[in-house]
Amino acid sequence: MASEVSVQEVADAMYKMIKDAQGMKKFKAGDLTKAMRDVYGDAADRKTCKAAIKELIDSGRCVYTYFGGSFIEIPHDEGAANK
């Protein structure tokens, strides 16, 4: 039986994953969900992961970006943006 994992715990794990890969790899929502399932098993179900992503976005710790597809990243200065 899968052990319990909180939304906040999953959000923090997702955030660490995004932070560690910043500048090297971008993650989509699906990538994060699959990675959490690898770590937490069935406890990190789709609903929990969805709530964790929502927490990351609504708290401002992460933002959605679009570079040929939609990714979840830590807010950063955009290279393409004109100041």
Partner: protein, 401 residues
């Protein structure tokens, strides 16, 4: 008159009897410096035959991952007023019905916060606001939501569902397209605003096989109205059409793709078992023919316009559903298919491409959808499904021999 840039090439596009986007931008440029710079940039692009735009990036409103498409010019020093020129997609009402007051409200919001230029509507179906700066995004969003509007979809999310005007204005509508569109928009708000898929996912609801929203060519899920009983015929009206000069044999019977019609000069006969529900005869003689009474919808999957790979038309998943009554069943099937695609789809792979990669039979098996012979790519074609049950032991060896 505002001091507009010299644009001889663009001016060529103001000639002729048709409305011109150049004329509209010029009118807007009398009040908007953004539009003035837009004219200058476009003229330069026409001269150099090079586009001067970059798109994508981080821009958006808090909490949303869709609805804003970042756009910048690569010549910000020369055209400072369009150094940012972001696009907003606004979720349109089902069937594109507005009051004139709502349109004025939208126009006022956009003149206050952006260039004032719009597309009514974009190919997605949304209202498109063209051109604003990053710092204006949140204020625009606040004004829009206060007026009862919301952003639409963009990026790898569920795109804003769209529908034909359906029963609101069309006698051919076989189900309530606007209700289905509205219910789908409301049910999938998370999917619409928070990109969670490998790529875009589009719903389009067409009330009849005329498919006025082109769903069969563009939507990942096409819901097309149809009927399952016989076409209704008023023979007296058929005769009236003939008396008025319509060549029923040439213009109707010979154009029937199912070759299921007979016309002896007095009576029109239809062999409904062979009717492909293309609507051609009904369109030619709308007073004489009409869809049957047992109306519902066919649900298809997998269409897309060409972007990364070529165009695909959709294939039948549910041959007939009374979607007005069985909406929950419809959603259940959709969500199972979405789950499989979300799990196994590659980045930027539309569900139609995914199905091509894994095979339609495997896809449906994974989504726990029962296979039936009516699942076809084209009417009157063999099913795309391989029915193993029909094979008996030893058949494969015989075939190989």
């Amino acid at each position: 008159m505002a001091n507009l840039p010299n644009t001889p090439k663009l001016d060529e596009l103001t000639k002729g009897p048709w409305p011109s986007f150049v004329s509209e931008i010029k009118r807007a440029a009398e009040r908007s410096d953004m539009c003035k710079d837009l004219l200058g940039l476009l003229e330069r692009s026409y001269n150099e035959k090079i586009g001067h735009w970059k798109h994508g990036g981080i821009v958006g409103v808090m909490g949303y991952g869709g609805g804003v498409i970042g756009r910048y010019t690569d010549l910000p020093e020369e055209f400072p007023n369009i150094s940012h020129f972001h696009t907003l997609r606004i979720n349109q009402p089902a069937g594109w019905f507005y009051t004139s007051e709502a349109l004025r409200t939208l126009a006022d919001i956009w003149e206050k916060h952006g260039s004032g230029l719009t597309n009514m509507h974009g190919s997605t179906g949304d209202i498109i606001f063209l051109g604003t700066r990053t710092e204006e995004l949140e204020p625009t969003f606040a004004d829009l939501t206060a007026a009862g509007f919301d952003l639409g979809g963009s990026g790898s999310d569920m795109r804003t569902p769209s529908a034909c005007c359906g029963k609101a204005r069309c006698e051919w509508a076989c189900y309530d397209t606007m209700k289905a569109c509205y219910d789908t928009t409301m049910r999938y708000q998370d999917e619409l605003h928070r990109p969670m898929f490998p790529y875009k996912w589009k719903f389009k609801f067409a009330g009849c096989p005329n498919d006025c929203v082109a769903s069969i060519a563009r939507a990942d899920i096409s819901v097309i109205g149809t009927w399952r009983d016989d076409i209704k015929i008023d023979q007296a009206e058929v005769k009236n059409y003939a008396d008025a000069g319509l060549d029923i044999f040439d213009d109707v019977v010979l154009n029937c793709p199912g070759k299921c019609m007979k016309w002896d000069g007095n009576t029109l006969e239809i062999d409904n078992d062979y009717c492909r529900h293309c609507m051609h005869c009904i369109n030619v003689m709308p007073k004489a023919l009409a869809p049957g009474d047992k109306r519902g919808a066919t649900v298809l999957i997998g269409a897309k316009a060409p972007i990364i790979e070529g165009a695909l038309l959709s294939s039948v998943v549910i041959p007939f559903i009374d979607i007005d009554e069985e909406y929950e069943e419809f959603c259940d099937i959709i969500e199972r298919m979405q789950d499989i695609w979300s799990e196994e789809g590659k980045n930027r792979e539309r569900v139609g491409e995914f199905i091509q990669r894994v095979g339609m039979g495997n896809f449906f098996e994974a989504a726990e959808i029962d296979l039936i012979p009516e699942m076809v790519t084209h009417p009157r074609e063999n099913p795309y499904i391989f029915f193993e049950d029909y094979y008996e032991e030893g058949d494969e060896e015989e075939e190989e021999e």
